[in-house]
């Protein structure tokens, strides 16, 4: 199955998912960009995204490997990746 519903989550001070967000949509692809303040807010955001059928979520480098691991365990049906640097 092609992945056509995607989200990127940025964790940074002062971000709120209800106000810091963008949506880029084409006939073939749907991408959401969401800012969150902390891990708990990311959890709530991904719950909404997974419920809406989002297939892939990428986390910014502000998330730790441990946080990404917790999210992957919480949402096994969603592909969750994290930006890392060598």
């Amino acid at each position: 199955m092609d992945h056509t519903k995607y989200a990127f989550i940025i964790k940074a001070p002062g971000y709120r998912r209800n106000t810091h967000k963008a949506h880029m949509k084409s006939p073939a692809f749907d991408a959401k960009f969401i800012g969150v303040e902390d891990f708990d807010e990311a959890l709530a955001a991904i719950e909404d995204l997974a419920g809406a059928g989002t297939q892939v979520v990428e986390l910014c480098g502000g998330f730790s490997a441990q946080e990404a691991t917790k999210l992957r365990r919480r949402f096994p049906d969603c592909e969750i990746g994290r930006v890392t640097y060598p």
Binding site: A65, T69, T84
Partner: protein, 197 residues
């Protein structure tokens, strides 16, 4: 398969600081991995592991989808690494040569268990050491089946007479620990890691 009876039952465990895990695993003993998927426990033998970090104590280990334990470890994020003595060599091999999908290994091999403190997987009472672990990082699981575990509790069974670890050389060949050299007086750089188990 022959049912085996393990010796020296009814022992008690001594709690260790999880930070001392490296003193148990750094020499690379064969370990047994206990998991619990919420319905039942399982156990497998595992030789591909290494210490990664002192604090928090992190352990890298390879458990793949070909292992029945993989699903439980991935889903629960918990396991126990049990370190057997050389007297359990045959049990170690036999446990690694059957699947938890087909047999209750604890019952089949007569393995005594104890309740863990921080995870749902059981401790193996007859092993020298038990290390309770949670999955710290699963980033490399899809690519290399490599779990990074964090030790959260550790136990020693001081009543076991056989204290030698088993080391797997592949394909069912093992050695037991040999002579131990105490060169701590020459370890001038890493004094903070000179702890007794």
């Amino acid at each position: 398969m022959r049912k085996q009876q393990l010796p020296e039952r009814g022992t008690t465990m001594r709690r260790l600081e999880a930070s001392k895990t490296y003193r148990i695993l750094e020499s690379g003993p064969i370990v047994m991995v206990c998991t619990n998927d919420g319905a039942r426990s399982n156990i497998m033998t595992m030789g591909f592991h290494m210490m990664v970090q002192h604090a928090p104590p992190l352990i890298g280990c390879v458990v793949g989808p070909w292992d029945h334990s993989f699903t439980a470890l991935r889903a629960t994020g918990e396991c126990v690494l049990a370190v057997p003595g050389a007297d359990l060599a045959r049990t170690v091999v036999d446990v690694g040569n059957c699947s938890g999908a087909e047999v209750d290994k604890f019952e089949h091999f007569g393995l005594a268990t104890s309740k863990a403190a921080k995870v749902k997987a059981p401790l193996l009472s007859d092993c020298l050491y038990n290390i309770e672990c949670v999955v710290h990082d699963d980033t490399l699981v899809d690519k290399y089946q490599l779990f990074i575990l964090e030790a959260v509790a550790a136990w020693s069974n001081d009543s076991r007479k056989e204290r030698r670890f088993l080391h797997h050389h592949g394909d069912g060949t093992f050695t037991a620990d040999g002579e131990r050299f105490d060169l701590r007086d020459r370890m001038t750089l890493w004094k903070q890691f000179q702890v007794d188990l």
